[in-house]
Structures are given as C-alpha cells and as structure tokens.
C-alpha cells in the first residue's frame, strides 16, 4: 500500500527558505550590497545637479522642484524592482543551483513570491539611503509626497515584477543567452514611458504606446502632483487596472514558458 503524498499546496515556509537564501547571499557578499546603493546614488547625483542647474535658469523648473529627482527616484523603483526580481533568479543560474531548486519541492508560485519579497528587500537597501540623501543635497524630500508615494510605488513595483517574471520565463526557456534582457529590457521603456517629460512631448505616433504602459500614468501623476499639486486618482486607477492585466498576462506567459522549457528539456541545459 502506498504512503500518502504528504504535501499540500502553497508553503510560506518554502518562501521563507528562499528569502533566507538571498538574505544569506547579501549578508555574505558586501560588494553585492554596495552595488545596490551605488547606481541609484550615482544617478541621483547626476540628475540632481542637472536639476539644480536648470532651475537656476528656468522659473518653471524653479517652481517645480524635484521634477527630475522625483522622476529619477520613481524610475529607479521601477528599474530596481524588475532587476531585483530577475537578478535574484540569475543568481541561481550563476551559481548552478537552479537544478537543486527545480528538483526540490519548491513550487513555481512559491519561487515567484520569494522573488517579489527579495525584490522589495533589495529596493529598500538600494533606495532608502538615496531618498534621504536627496533631502540635504537637493532639497527634495520624496517622503513629503505622502500617500500618493505609496500608490506610485505600488504601481511601479507591480509593473517591474511583471516584466521581471517574463524575463525569468525567457531565461528558463532560452538559458543564459537571454541574460542581457535582465539588464537592458527596462531601458526600452524609459523614453516611451515619459519619466522626465509629459506624454505630449512624444510624437503623436508614440503616444498610444506610452498610454499602453501603466508606468506612464505614474509619471504623469507625479508631474501633476509636483507642478499642479493635484493627486490624479483617475490616472492611478487606470495604472492599477492595467497593472492587474499586465501581471496576470506575465504570470500566464511565465507558466507557458516554463511548460515549454519542460517540453524542450532546457531546464537541464541552463548554459549559454
């Protein structure tokens, strides 16, 4: 007589195990932790000084303090949430540990949830010091945005995770040959999602593309808040709705790519 199969459903204990795995990695490797803070700081300093210079020569920018630095900080939330998600997965490929995980009871859904948690931890380590540094250097306190900041943040990380999920699906299917996507895909969005300028700046042809991105509504919302001191709830509602669709589609694409990788046998061939 067979013994019953023991496991049932989703396990938060396994999610915790994966979060612990990444926490060990970060705490054992100080260059990784430094790298998390390094790029956001360099970016913020560059754009912060550009903003100071422009503000000295333009009354518009002088009256809309934080337009560049605020845009940059929110862009970094988007970029780092995607990269944190995808890089945590890449760590498994780099260390040749993916086989151990795929042959463990860890379920794809548990893996995904652990990557979202890790992405938040990486964001906190990378972004918190930068937001505080912007206060004395550029007189911009992103925390003064209050509740709208939480709404902006939520929309951006959900979008970052959706894109990260598709990237790791492609990595599972195509192997390390697709690694460059984890580094570069998000930069394709940067000019179209209008981080530093309104959608009206884009050529008419590109505007529908911009409005198809949930992140565009966040950056427009930020500008409305900083320039007109108005929180555009309508924009945020659209962003949330689009993100719900994007994330659902990303989950579907991820599972399809995982199934395709299982059919093609590429889970056992994770080299280049």
């Amino acid at each position: 007589m067979s013994a019953p199969v023991t496991s049932t459903g989703f396990s938060f204990a396994r999610v915790g195990a994966m979060v612990l795995r990444y926490w060990y990695l970060l705490s054992n490797s100080w260059p990784r932790a430094v790298e998390l803070v390094y790029w956001p700081t360099v970016q913020m300093l560059t754009w912060g000084f550009v903003q100071l210079y422009v503000a000295q020569n333009s009354s518009f920018f002088a009256n809309a303090a934080g337009l560049f630095v605020g845009g940059l900080l929110l862009w970094d939330v988007l970029l780092r949430s995607q990269q944190g998600f995808a890089f945590a997965f890449l760590e498994e490929l780099w260390s040749r540990n993916l086989g151990n995980l795929l042959m463990s009871p860890l379920r794809p859904s548990e893996f995904i949830v652990s990557l979202t948690v890790i992405s938040l931890i990486r964001l906190a380590i990378g972004m918190l010091p930068v937001t505080f540094l912007a206060i004395p250097l550029f007189g911009f306190n992103v925390w003064d945005l209050g509740l709208p900041l939480a709404v902006f943040f939520a929309n951006l990380v959900i979008c970052g995770w959706a894109i990260g999920l598709v990237i790791i699906g492609i990595l599972l299917r195509q192997g390390m040959g697709a690694e460059a996507l984890a580094w570069s895909l998000m930069f394709l969005l940067m000019p179209i999602t209008c981080v530093y300028y309104p959608v009206a700046t884009l050529p008419a042809l590109l505007r529908p593309v911009a409005w198809a991105l949930p992140t565009t509504y966040v950056f427009e919302g930020l500008r409305a808040l900083l320039i007109h001191h108005t929180f555009r709830l309508d924009l945020m509602a659209i962003a949330f709705a689009m993100n719900a669709v994007w994330f659902a589609v990303a989950v579907g694409v991820f599972y399809r790519l995982l199934a395709s990788a299982r059919r093609a046998g590429s889970l056992l061939q994770q080299g280049e």
């Binding site: 199969v5 260390s95 040749r96 151990n100 046998g265």
Partner: protein, 266 residues
C-alpha cells in the same frame, strides 16, 4: 523468515513505454523498467544513451512525449511537487550556492524540504559526513571531495525514500569515492531507501547495485543483476559487459538476453 527478494518487493519506480524526442532526435525510445523498493538500480549507458533525459523525466523536469512514470505509487509529473518532498537528487553537475556557507546551504535546503527538527538533522549529517571542519566555510571554497560530501548531505536532508544519483563519485579520488559509496550503503541499509544510480564507474555499479538497466540509443538494451549479466555475457567485469553492449558485440558463448519486460510478455 527471510526478506523478500528484489523481484517480489513492491515497486518504488515504475516506468512504462517512456518516450521523449527533441526535434528529430529520439532521446528516449519507449523504455520500460521498474525499481523495487529498497534496492539500488544502476542506469548505465554511453554518452547520448538517454540517461540524463530519463532522470530529467523521473524528476519531472522534462515532460515525456509518451508513456508513464509512477514513483511511490504516485504519478510523475502529475503529483510532482508533493512527490519531490519524498525524493532527493545529487549530481556533481549541479552546485550549491557558492557564497553561502555549508551550514547556511543545509539550513536553506532543509527548510525547502520542511525537515522537522532541522537543527538536529543538520548536526547529525555534519557528524555523519564529517563536515565539521568546513561547515562554516563558503561552499565555493571547498574541494571537489568536500563539495560532494556536502551535496550528499543535502541529498539526505529529508531522508528521501527515493534517491537519484547522477555520477555521484565523478571527479573524486578513489579514497573519497570509496568513502561516498560506503555512506550510500549505510544510508540504504539504515532506511530501506531506493536508489537509482547513473554512473560510468563500473566497479561502483558492481559494488552498489542490485540491478542494472543498460540504455543504448534511447532503448533498454539489457538489464539484470550484475552477477547475472556477467554470467550471461561470459565476462569477468561489468565494464566488459558495458563495452559489449555499447559496441553491439558479444563474447562467444554468451547467452541471449531474457525478454526485456517479462510482465509485458506474460
């Protein structure tokens, strides 16, 4: 009262007509075999014979085109997530995170397998596999032999009922390899676990395995107990038998192979 022989034991692994193609390449071509509980079965074959694909399908990492796999009387890959809690795997071609210490790695994998009283289990394995000298060293800093011991400790963390080993002693010196084989024998004797062993090391197979499945070009070319194969092929070592099978040659006076799937022909 004597223990039942391998043939009369319940099955731990039952593979029926398993097939897998990659494009035009037929990697596994309708193989069938079974592994009785508590036995060690060797999966042999040259490069490209279909061993890795078969193991991949047994772990649910590769979806078969046809056929079925039952492990511990449950469907693989249908009940994969739950079954994997009762199985484990070790291969020198898979590493553990380099930047984590041995203890941290065991802690993470113990939690993934939801091992009860994990701290005590890790202490037990550290003692059994003599890991204490480097348990707080990063995995990436270990020698090949030390890495294998750690990987085996990880593979036994959840006291698996079915253990899949892919060339567990590849790249090890003879002394360490012998030590590893001894650990596996001890584990099997203590727990009654079932082990499926893919190996190119024929003395290892002769020492550990109750039964051998020889694959060639994606098919089961022959199978039987090592002593039975030696007798039937008229050879002194399993390596000679392996070469006969791989090259399609047989010694003069060798017996014909028995039917591949006795049940199927009954």
């Amino acid at each position: 009262m004597t223990a039942p022989g391998p043939a009369s034991r319940p099955l731990a692994v039952e593979v029926r007509d398993l097939a897998k193609s990659f494009g035009t390449v037929r990697a596994v071509d309708g193989i069938s075999f079974e592994v009785p509980r508590g036995t060690v079965t060797g999966l042999l074959g040259g490069n490209g014979a279909g061993k890795t694909t078969t193991i991949g399908m047994l772990m649910g990492l590769i979806l078969p085109d046809g056929g079925s796999i039952r492990i511990l009387d449950h469907d693989m890959p249908g009940e994969r997530a739950a079954l994997l809690e009762r199985m484990n795997f070790e291969s020198p071609y898979v590493d553990m995170p380099h930047r984590l210490t041995v203890r941290q790695n065991l802690n993470v994998f113990g939690r993934l397998y939801r091992v009860a009283d994990l701290k005590a289990r890790i202490a037990e394995l550290v003692a059994d596999f003599d890991l204490s000298a480097f348990v707080d060293r990063k995995a990436g800093q270990l020698s090949a032999g030390q890495k294998t011991r750690v990987a085996l400790a990880k593979a036994l963390l959840n006291r698996p009922e079915v253990l899949l080993l892919d060339e567990p002693t590849a790249s090890l010196d003879p002394d360490t390899a012998d030590w590893v084989r001894g650990r596996l024998e001890t584990y099997r004797a203590a727990t009654g676990a079932t082990i499926l062993l893919a190996s190119h090391n024929m003395p290892e197979v002769e020492r550990l395995c109750d039964d051998v499945v020889i694959l060639r070009r994606g098919r089961v070319e022959d199978r039987g107990a090592p002593a039975d194969l030696l007798r039937r092929y008229g050879r002194d070592t399993l390596e000679e038998v392996f070469l006969d099978v791989a090259r399609g040659t047989r010694a003069e006076g060798a017996e014909a192979a028995p039917p591949r799937h006795p049940e199927a022909e009954a």
